[in-house]
C-alpha cells in the first residue's frame, strides 16, 4: 500500500483541484480523500506537489524491434518515467514494421519483461506502411494495439484512408495520420519560409500538412470514423480540425512541446532542430497555443524520436528527422504555457491525461478502483536539463542545458514508484 499525502490533487475527470490524499493498494487506487490514514502503508509526502492522473504520451518511437542502436523499450521507458509518463503509445515504424500480431506481441512481451511504464503499441495501417494493402488490424487489436497509423509517412491515398477508416470504425480503433503531401514535401528539410531561403535549405511549405489534414477530414465525413491528427504544426491544419469538430466529426489532434516552443527562426544548421513536421512559423506557433488554450487541441504528445549521436552529426540535409522529448515535455508545458499565463494548470493536466485518454477511447482519473497510475510534479522546482544524464540511448535534443521552472518529481505505474527525482522526499 502506498499513501500519497499532502499533495494538490488535480483530477480533470471530476474537476477536482484540492488538497487530498490518495491511497494505492496493489495496482489500483483504493481511496481518495482528505486526511487519509492507513497502517502498513508506505508514505509518500507530496507536500507542495501536484498529484495528477498518470500521463499518457500518444506518440513516441521506442525503436524496438530493429533499431536498438538508438533506443530500446527499456531505455525509452526509463526516460518516459523520468518525464512523468505512465503510459506511452509507440509508433509502428520499426524494423520490421509493426504490421502484424506477431510483431505486436513481441513488443508487448518485451515491455512486460523490462519496461518502466505501460507500453501501448500502435499498429500499422498498411502492410509495411507501404500504402497498398490493409494490415491485419483485427489480429493486431487482439494482440494489444490501441490505434492504427502509418506514422513516418502519411496514409498514402484518400482511397486507402477510407478503407482504413471504415475498417477501424468497426473495430473501434482511432486512425492516427502523419499528415503530409509527398509531392510538396519531397527533398525538404525545414519549413519553407524566410529562414529556409536565407539558409539555402530546401523548404517544405505549410500546405504540405494542411492539404493532407483537409483530405483526411473529408474522408472522415465519408466514413464517420475516429481520426486523430498526429503532431499538428500549422494554423491551416488547426482550422480544418476546428471545422471538423464543429461539424460534429470525431476528429482530434495533438501538438508537440517543440512546436509550441520553437519556430523555424531557431534553425541554424544544428541538426537538433531538424524534425518532421519541421519547426513552423511564429504565426503557427501562436495559433497552436491559442488552440491549446481554447480546447481545439486535445493532447500534448512528445513524438520522442531518438537517433543515436553519430547519425545526427552530419550535414543538415543528410541528418534524419527527429528529436527526443519525454523528459522535457512537462517542463516545457509548465514553463512555456502555464507560467506564461497562456493556460491554466488544470488545462495542462487535461492535455496529458483526459485528452489523450479520450482519443484512445478510455478514461484516466483519480478515483477508487482506477489503475494506480499517477504523475506527481512540481510547478516550481528549478532545474537544468542535461541530455548526458538521460537514460535514453540518444542525445538528439535542442533543449540540452535549458533551464526550466517545473519538473516531474515522481511517477507511479500500477502502484509502483518507477521514478523519483532526488529532491523529492519520502518519509516512512
Amino acid at each position: 500500500m502506498l499513501l500519497i499525502k499532502n499533495g494538490r490533487v488535480i483530477d480533470p475527470a471530476s474537476r477536482t483541484d484540492a488538497a487530498m490524499d490518495v491511497l494505492l493498494d496493489g495496482e489500483r487506487i483504493s481511496k481518495v480523500g482528505a486526511n487519509l490514514a492507513a497502517e502498513n502503508a508506505e508514505i509518500f509526502d507530496a507536500k507542495g506537489l501536484v498529484v495528477a492522473p498518470g500521463f499518457i504520451d500518444l506518440h513516441c518511437h521506442l525503436r524496438e524491434p530493429g533499431q536498438e542502436i538508438s533506443e530500446t523499450i527499456v531505455t525509452g521507458t526509463r526516460a518516459a518515467a523520468r518525464g512523468g509518463f505512465t503510459a506511452v503509445c509507440t509508433m509502428p515504424n520499426t524494423q520490421p514494421v509493426n504490421d502484424s500480431a506477431s510483431v505486436t506481441r513481441g513488443i508487448v512481451e518485451r515491455a512486460a519483461a523490462g519496461a518502466s511504464v505501460r507500453v501501448w503499441p500502435i499498429g500499422a495501417a498498411s502492410v509495411g506502411s507501404k500504402g497498398e494493402a490493409l494490415a491485419e488490424i483485427a489480429a493486431m487489436k487482439d494482440a494489444g494495439i490501441v490505434a492504427v497509423s502509418d506514422d513516418g509517412k502519411p496514409i498514402a491515398t484518400a482511397r486507402l484512408m477510407r478503407q482504413v477508416m471504415d475498417y477501424c470504425r468497426a473495430l473501434d480503433l482511432p486512425v492516427i495520420d502523419h499528415c503530409e503531401d509527398a509531392s510538396l514535401f519531397t527533398g525538404g528539410v525545414m519549413r519553407e519560409g524566410p529562414q529556409s531561403i536565407k539558409l539555402g535549405l530546401k523548404g517544405i511549405p505549410a500546405q504540405s500538412e494542411s492539404i493532407c489534414v483537409g483530405r483526411d477530414v473529408e474522408v472522415a465525413t465519408l466514413t464517420g470514423a475516429r481520426l486523430h491528427i498526429a503532431h499538428m504544426s500549422t494554423v491551416g491544419s488547426l482550422e480544418y480540425v476546428r471545422m471538423a469538430k464543429k461539424m460534429g466529426l470525431r476528429v482530434s489532434c495533438e501538438v508537440t512541446p517543440h512546436h509550441f516552443t520553437l519556430t523555424d527562426e531557431d534553425v541554424q544548421y544544428d541538426t537538433h532542430y531538424k524534425m518532421n513536421p519541421p519547426l513552423a512559423s511564429r504565426a503557427d506557433r501562436d495559433a497552436l497555443i491559442q488552440g491549446i488554450a481554447d480546447g481545439s487541441v486535445d493532447a500534448i504528445a512528445t513524438d520522442h524520436a531518438p537517433h543515436h549521436p553519430a547519425s545526427k552529426d552530419v550535414e543538415f540535409d543528410r541528418a534524419p528527422f527527429g528529436i527526443t522529448g519525454f523528459e522535457t515535455a512537462l517542463a516545457l508545458g509548465l514553463t512555456e504555457l502555464v507560467h506564461r499565463g497562456k493556460i491554466s494548470l488544470a488545462r495542462l493536466v487535461e492535455l496529458f491525461t483526459t485528452g489523450p485518454a479520450r482519443v484512445l477511447g478510455m478514461e484516466r482519473k483519480i478515483a477508487s478502483g482506477e489503475p494506480a497510475d499517477l504523475t506527481i510534479f512540481s510547478t516550481e522546482h528549478e532545474w537544468t536539463y542535461r541530455a548526458s544524464e538521460s537514460p535514453s540511448k540518444s542525445r538528439n535534443t535542442p533543449f540540452d542545458g535549458r533551464r526550466f521552472r517545473g519538473a516531474p518529481m515522481a511517477t507511479v505505474v500500477a502502484g509502483r514508484v518507477v521514478y523519483r527525482r532526488e529532491a523529492a522526499a519520502t518519509a516512512k
Binding site: 539555402g200 552530419v314 540535409d317
Partner: protein
C-alpha cells in the same frame, strides 16, 4: 580596429567595415597580378587544403593559384576521387584532412551549411568556396570589387540579378553584400525561382516579373547561369528561358549606357546571355576573374597567414625583430 576574421563562411555575418577592409586589401593583390614575377614567400611553409566536394574548375584553380602565388603548399581533395563516394562521412573526411595539419581549408560542398559544420569542429580557418545554395562569399566580394572599381562606388547603385535566384548561392551572397552598402537590388527570373521571401532577407530588395522592367535604369547586372546540376522541378525549356530572361543587346540598352554586365561563370552563351553582350565592352567577366584571384589572395593572406592568435600584434612585435607597421606616431624602429 578590425576584428581578426577567423573564418569566411558567408557575407551575411560580416559588417560593412569588414567587407570594405577585404576589398581594400584586394587592391595591392590586383597590382601584384601585373608583376612579371608572381611569386611571394609570404605564406611559405603554410599548407592550404582545397577540399572541393562539389565539382568546380574555375573557383578551385583560382584558389589554387592564389595559394601558390603566396608561396603556400596545397593539399587537394576532389569530389570524383574522393572517399566521399565510398561512403565516408563529411566529418571523417575532414578530420582526416585535419590530421595532416593544413593551416587552412578552402571548402566547396553541395550541402548548405557544410562550411559552418566543418568550422564548428576544426581548429583551423575555413574559407567557404560555396556551400549548397547558401553562400559563395568570395564571388560576391570579387563582384563588388569589380563594380566598385568600374563604377567608383557601391552605395545607391541599382543592381539587377537575373535568373534562378532560388538555387543560387551567388545571388544570396550578392544580395547580402550589396544591401549592406545601400545598393538597390532588383531580382528577376522565372517566378517559381524568385520566391517572395527574398524581399525579406535584406533591405532594399525587390522582385520584378519582367526583365524589361528589371533592367530599366540599372547600373549593373549580374547574370546567373542556368543550373543543371542542382536539380529542381519544374524544368524550363531553353527556348522559354531565352524568350523571357536572356540578356540580349536590345534588353541591355534599357539599362544605363555604362551599365556593367557581370556573370559568375561559366557562361552558356546563347542561353542566359547573348554572345555579343558577353564579349561586349560592358562585360566585366575577365576582370571578375582577375579580381577573384586578388580577393582570394587577400583572404588567404589574412586568414591563413601569421601565427596563432596568441602571438603579438605587429606593432608590439617590435625591437630586435624586423620590419613592422608603426602603431605609435613616428617610426618605432622595429622598422629600419
Amino acid at each position: 580596429m578590425l576584428q581578426r576574421l577567423e573564418h569566411l563562411l558567408g557575407i551575411e555575418p560580416l559588417t560593412r567595415e569588414q567587407i570594405t577592409f577585404i576589398l581594400d586589401q584586394a587592391a595591392p593583390f590586383q597590382e601584384f597580378q601585373r608583376h612579371p614575377l608572381k611569386k611571394l614567400a609570404t605564406l611559405r611553409g603554410k599548407t592550404v587544403a582545397l577540399a572541393f566536394f562539389e565539382a568546380s574548375t574555375r573557383t578551385r584553380i583560382s584558389f589554387a593559384t592564389a595559394a601558390a602565388r603566396l608561396g603556400a603548399d596545397q593539399m587537394n581533395l576532389q569530389a570524383e576521387s574522393s572517399s566521399l563516394k565510398k561512403g565516408e562521412s563529411l566529418i571523417d573526411t575532414v578530420r582526416t584532412l585535419e590530421a595532416m595539419r593544413p593551416d587552412g581549408i578552402v571548402m566547396r560542398h553541395a550541402a548548405s551549411g557544410a562550411a559552418d559544420f566543418v568550422a564548428k569542429r576544426l581548429e583551423i580557418p575555413v574559407l567557404n568556396a560555396g556551400d549548397g545554395t547558401h553562400e559563395h562569399p568570395t564571388q560576391a566580394l570579387l563582384d563588388a570589387l569589380t563594380i566598385r572599381d568600374r563604377a567608383g562606388k557601391l552605395d545607391g547603385l541599382h543592381v539587377t540579378i537575373l535568373g534562378d535566384i532560388l538555387h543560387s548561392r551567388v545571388a544570396r551572397s550578392n544580395i547580402h553584400l550589396l544591401s549592406k552598402f545601400g545598393a538597390h537590388i532588383t531580382l528577376c527570373g522565372p517566378p517559381m525561382w524568385v520566391p517572395r521571401e527574398f524581399e525579406g532577407i535584406a533591405p532594399n530588395v525587390r522582385r520584378v516579373p519582367r526583365i524589361e522592367e528589371a533592367l530599366e535604369g540599372a547600373d549593373a547586372m549580374i547574370v546567373l547561369r542556368v543550373q543543371t546540376e542542382r536539380i529542381h522541378e519544374p524544368a524550363l525549356a531553353a527556348e522559354e528561358y531565352i524568350l523571357g530572361y536572356q540578356l540580349t543587346p536590345e534588353r541591355l540598352r534599357l539599362a544605363k549606357p555604362e551599365a556593367l554586365v557581370l556573370h559568375p561563370g561559366p557562361m552558356i552563351r546563347g542561353l542566359e546571355i547573348d554572345p555579343g553582350v558577353a564579349d561586349g565592352p560592358q562585360s566585366c567577366v575577365l576582370e571578375q576573374v582577375t579580381n577573384g584571384l586578388a580577393v582570394r589572395m587577400a583572404l588567404l593572406y589574412h586568414l591563413v597567414g601569421g601565427a596563432p592568435t596568441d602571438a603579438p600584434h605587429p606593432a608590439e612585435a617590435s625591437s630586435a625583430a624586423s620590419s613592422g607597421a608603426s602603431a605609435a606616431k613616428g617610426s618605432s624602429n622595429a622598422a629600419d
